[in-house]
Symmetry: C2
Subunit: 320 residues, 2 copies
């Protein structure tokens, strides 16, 4: 009997690195994880990962064969096979693809989390029949994966999709990138918390959020407060949606996607973030684009979404 | 002796429609033009165009053979072969590709002016070796042609590249599209004239431009005044460059092009527009993109640039 082919999806996160063996229909056959330990060199992570993967695959190897490896990582560079200055890892420039291929002689590709999410949506999710769409990840930062004519847009140096660092207010909030007023300082999980603080300062109305120390405030708390009708929380979602909607309208005018997917921690706030974002996006769109571009949640609604995206990256190449 | 193949490039403008027979090396063998007469239906233009083309080709036909037709037109839609609600023509939706093909049984393609300029730069100009680049046309409006991975980006409905209608100031200048604060109300030939008026109102300093009635002011006059050191003209170029530079930085962060080309009436102001645009663009770029993306003039510096772009559109398809 011939063995069933699976891809190996790897998601390198700030805290944990998750891997999964995934069949061509998108079923995660088996999933494992190890701590990333970002203060150690990438070589050590890859060695530990190899050991864990081999142990995990032991019981699968009579039935399955591995045919390719996809990797999602913060600042993963598709062209160079590297992870470059990842925000929460002490790596500078790590040749992760090359390190993996020292253990595995099979097709391997790496990209960043948002690109992996986009290709995951294309291969396994709600964008199977779409050629042009955009995935926005609203987490600690704002990431963006762009699909044009059935291809991920990497750009000249592999770093396309930095929508999070486009400018909203030239003299606005300090961004981790060194600039001020970047979109992700407004439209992200920490961004909406900053907006709550701004409204707590500007308004006198009562709010459940006045009792929470700023350092402990999370976007989930803001969503919970909005659920209870808290006026500051609702104002914060409206403000976030206005800014995100304006920049998404720019994205639509520029690249004319079929749909935009919102994804990640802040997107879990559901209608609180979708409704104002959609409303303002429509208002900022040139008439020719209005009521044409749906704003959708990801169809990959499970905890394995990051590894599925990584797996989709290589599956897409194997099928090409 | 076998005949030399040529493409027929057609540029439909608000006033005139120009056509040219262009060989595969980009030489315009012969060029002609007729008035567009935009108040008449498109059928009539195409009929007159056919007659003029045939007359013009008469003396060429022993040496050359026509192998394809490329058309550039305002709001030309590649997918549908149409020109849709063109700003200066009374056509609503005109099936121009189909009309042309009633006279010519050969490969035909249509797109908008900015896309034609981009493909022209790729096929005949300075972008021959580039896979990812952007062409910005700064004329009556602001157009944008996007090349990603050697392909023009049309988007889901063929109207990608509407950078001119992205938002700079949500409550800013009234735009012809119905919105307020669109980029092209600032960065275009009429846009810089509006900026001159703004500074004439805000500042008390002397200016050559105070003697010109607003309805007669042109971007060329502003450039001439800047040439003479006029402080209002210089401020207007600086302001225009800041806004354009900020939005081009957004474009770079989003799509990571190898270079950006500036083109059209306002781009002819040379260093007055290039220098501030480049300076501010660099300031607004996330660090990872800085000093990597040159801002270049088009290499297609002649009056046939629009028909060359149109010709390039079809030549590119014939070669594919």
């Amino acid at each position: 009997m011939s063995k069933i082919p699976v891809t190996l999806g790897i998601d390198i996160g700030g805290t944990n690195t998750v891997f999964s063996f995934i069949d061509f229909d998108g079923n995660c056959i088996k999933t494992g994880q190890i701590p990333t330990r970002g203060q150690e060199p990438a070589e050590k992570l890859v060695k530990r990962l190899y050991e864990s993967i081999e142990k995990s695959f032991e019981e699968l190897k009579s039935l399955y064969k591995r045919v390719g490896i996809g990797i999602g990582a913060p600042n993963g560079n598709y062209f160079r096979g590297t992870v470059e200055y990842p925000p929460n890892l002490n790596w500078e420039i790590a040749p992760v693809k090359e390190l993996i291929q020292q253990y595995y002689d099979m097709p391997t590709a790496i990209t960043n989390d948002a690109n992996a999410a986009a290709i995951g949506e294309k291969v396994y999710g709600a964008a199977r029949d779409m050629k042009d769409f955009i995935v926005i990840t609203l987490g600690t930062g704002l990431g963006c994966g762009i699909m044009v004519n059935n291809q991920l847009v990497y750009g000249a140096d592999g770093f396309a999709g930095e929508l999070g660092h486009t400018t909203v207010f030239p003299d606005g909030r300090q961004c981790g990138c060194g600039k001020r007023g970047c979109l992700e300082t407004y439209a992200s999980a920490p961004g909406i918390c900053k907006t709550v603080l701004m409204f707590l300062a500007e308004e006198t109305i009562d709010s459940l959020l006045r009792t929470i120390p700023p350092a402990q405030l999370t976007s989930k708390m803001v969503a919970n407060a909005a659920q209870k009708g808290d006026p500051i929380a609702l104002k914060a979602f409206n403000y976030t949606g206005r800014i995100l909607g304006m920049k998404l309208a720019d994205v639509v005018a520029f690249s004319s996607p079929e749909a935009i997917f919102l994804f990640g921690g802040l997107a879990k706030s559901g209608t609180f973030i979708f409704e104002p974002t959609k409303k303002y996006m429509e208002g900022f769109l040139p008439p020719v684009f209005r009521n044409k571009v749906p704003l959708l949640p990801s169809a990959l609604k499970n905890k394995n979404i990051a590894v599925m995206g990584a797996s989709a990256l290589i599956l897409n190449e194997l099928k090409a």
